[in-house]
């Protein structure tokens, strides 16, 4: 039997441990997230922002962006408009429409991809669920405009940023993501190659078996085989 109020005491033990160890502990779990006076001369190097032109550190996250590879945004867009993020976004601030060519065939990219920044809560869930590494978090926060509603609805072309930009704002994360993608790609290719090889082998075996069957077949069936050939 659980003691009455035990859960509360357990929770209080956790917070008390945080409270006490925040003064003494230097390990990762209990160190202070805030770095004092990061922008003042003499600040330790690890607290300084990743880029010189911003006060934002490499750990800051807000509002998602879409990634593209290469120089042409629409040519290299990674998003295939699968709409998973649209469904998973808790406040439902993503709106996607698929793109079709003239024949009405789905061409695996979004025609419309809007994010309503007045609703987005920067939770990063869209990033977590995207199977194509197409959407990541930005660190841009200076989004004010002179009019009241301007710039709140971000469209596809505003959201599209290059992979280089991503490398600039979140270097470590971008590198890890690229590595993982490369690895996944290599694995997929290896698998494909293995599958191809197996297929080829199977085909060869089948052909060999067919030849063998042909040889051992009795004469009367020869016209049929000839007809099939």
């Amino acid at each position: 039997m659980r003691l009455l109020g035990f859960g509360i005491l357990k929770g209080m033990a956790v917070t008390l441990e945080n409270f006490v160890r925040s003064y003494f502990d230097r390990d990762r779990r209990h160190h202070l997230f805030t770095k004092e006076y990061a922008w003042e001369p003499g600040a330790p190097a690890e607290v300084l922002p990743a880029r010189a032109d911003t006060t934002v550190t490499a750990h800051s996250r807000n509002f998602p962006i879409l990634l593209h590879d290469g120089a042409d945004p629409m040519g290299g867009i990674r998003c295939v408009a699968c709409q998973i993020c649209e469904r998973e976004c808790p406040p439902q601030c993503i709106y996607i429409e698929k793109d079709y060519d003239e024949q009405g065939k789905y061409i695996k990219r979004p025609a419309i991809f809007d994010i309503d920044l007045s609703v987005c809560m920067s939770c990063q869930i869209c990033v977590e669920v995207c199977p194509f590494d197409a959407i990541v978090m930005d660190s841009q926060f200076e989004l004010s405009t002179a009019n009241r509603f301007g710039g709140l609805l971000q469209h596809r072309d505003q959201l599209l940023k290059s992979n280089e930009y991503y490398h600039r704002i979140h270097p470590e994360e971008a590198r890890a993501r690229d590595d993982r993608m490369a690895q996944e790609k290599a694995e997929k290719e290896a698998k494909q190659a293995a599958a191809d090889a197996a297929k080829k082998k199977a085909a060869e075996a089948k052909a060999a078996a067919e030849i063998a069957a042909e040889k051992s077949k009795p004469e009367p069936s020869a016209p049929t085989a000839g007809g099939a050939a």
Partner: protein, 377 residues
């Protein structure tokens, strides 16, 4: 006559000024402790102007906050009831201010004449305490009503329901102490604990816990901060208050915390008793404040730990759990006080009270299935 007046001022002014400055300190303390619980630093930027003192651990922050509050525009909604809107913050300050003088603080410089004037010596100090603090509900509802804002009104209604409900366990748990001390004179209650603080008896411990929980609700502290639940109803009853009126609400709230913690110290923790008080009577005041701050630390600690209750949970907890338990505690205390063998009071009392608490919590637990989340796997 003049002497009496001077004595009165000598008692009242330090209380008002002292606790008001302790309020500033407590806001700083709360922000620092909450920050540390969350592995942050908390306020640390404000420096003393024109000096070399750069940080001082952010201790100047409350002064900056106060200046900011004073300088802010005072906004009154167009449709608000102007008079009530103005009166509510003032009224919210008066009851806690008044009850502070009921605490049996032994001011070190007090002469016999001053002591005679202290309200703590009143024969019904505890009763008066509850009578005056319940006025606070009125101020809160006044604010909620006068603002003509749905969030304010919701907050005000929640506050009324909550404060009225929790007043009962609060008073009932204090009644146990009154039974044991044989009176409501605050100084006499402290005197009665000379041999043993009431918290060190089974009924006293139970009463203290009930009292503490109910006082959290009375002062709108987390996890019972529904009347001002920021994430639900913006700021509750003081949504429409800005500038200095807002600061007054804030001050009133903290003074109420001081007052109710002070009462808890008086009733259960032996008032100003502590080591070396006999040798240095001035220490009594220090011990009293130290105990108050220990309680306040626990309040802040709880705020950093527990999430807010739902409205139905809140009411259910008061009426179905705290109220029966505090009623039972009355009987346990009466039996324990009349018991022929005092050593029996701990095992029997603890067993009865704990058993009752478990039974109560079992019988009211909603048998809901564990919640399933569609997205978080």
């Amino acid at each position: 006559m003049t002497q009496t007046l001077l004595n009165l001022l000598a008692i009242a002014v330090p209380l008002a000024v002292g606790f008001a400055s302790l309020f500033a300190f407590t806001t700083w303390l709360e922000r620092k402790i909450l920050a540390r619980i969350q592995n942050r630093i908390g306020p640390n930027r404000i420096s003393l102007p024109f000096t070399r003192f750069r940080r001082l651990f952010g201790l100047i922050q409350p002064a900056a906050d106060g200046l900011k509050m004073l300088a802010k525009e005072d906004i009154v909604p167009r449709d608000a009831d102007k008079l009530l809107h103005l009166l509510a913050p003032i009224l919210s300050l008066v009851p806690p201010m008044m009850v502070l003088c009921l605490l049996p603080l032994e001011l070190p410089y007090a002469t016999a004449g001053m002591r005679a004037l202290q309200a703590a010596a009143l024969d019904n100090a505890v009763l008066l305490f509850f009578a005056i603090t319940s006025l606070n509900t009125l101020a809160v509802f006044m604010a909620g009503w006068a603002s003509r804002n749905k969030y304010s009104l919701l907050g005000g209604m929640r506050a009324v329901a909550q404060m009225v409900s929790y007043e009962i366990p609060l008073v009932l748990s204090a009644a146990v102490v009154i039974m044991a001390a044989g009176g409501m004179n605050a100084q006499a209650i402290v005197e009665a604990q000379r041999a043993q603080w009431f918290i060190f008896t089974p009924w006293g411990l139970a009463a203290f816990l009930i009292f503490f929980i109910a006082s959290l609700a009375e002062t709108n502290r987390s996890p019972f901060d529904l009347p001002e639940a920021e994430s639900e109803i913006i700021a509750g009853y003081f949504t429409e208050y800005s500038g200095f009126k807002f600061a007054l609400f804030f001050l009133g709230e903290y003074l109420a915390i001081f007052a109710v913690s002070g009462l808890a110290v008086t009733l259960f923790l032996g008032g100003g008793a502590g080591p070396w008080v006999a040798a240095y009577p001035a220490l009594s005041c220090v011990w009293f404040l130290a105990k108050i701050f220990a309680l306040i630390f626990v309040m802040i600690w709880l705020r950093g730990t527990l999430p807010r209750l739902r409205v139905d949970q809140l009411m259910g907890f008061a009426w179905k759990f705290l109220l029966p338990l505090s009623l039972l505690n009355l009987f346990v205390a009466a039996a324990a006080l009349k018991l022929a063998k005092p050593w029996l009071s701990w095992p029997v009392g603890a067993l009865v009270l704990y058993g009752a608490a478990v039974a109560l919590s079992r019988s009211h637990r909603a048998d809901a299935a564990p919640r399933t989340y569609s997205y978080a796997e």
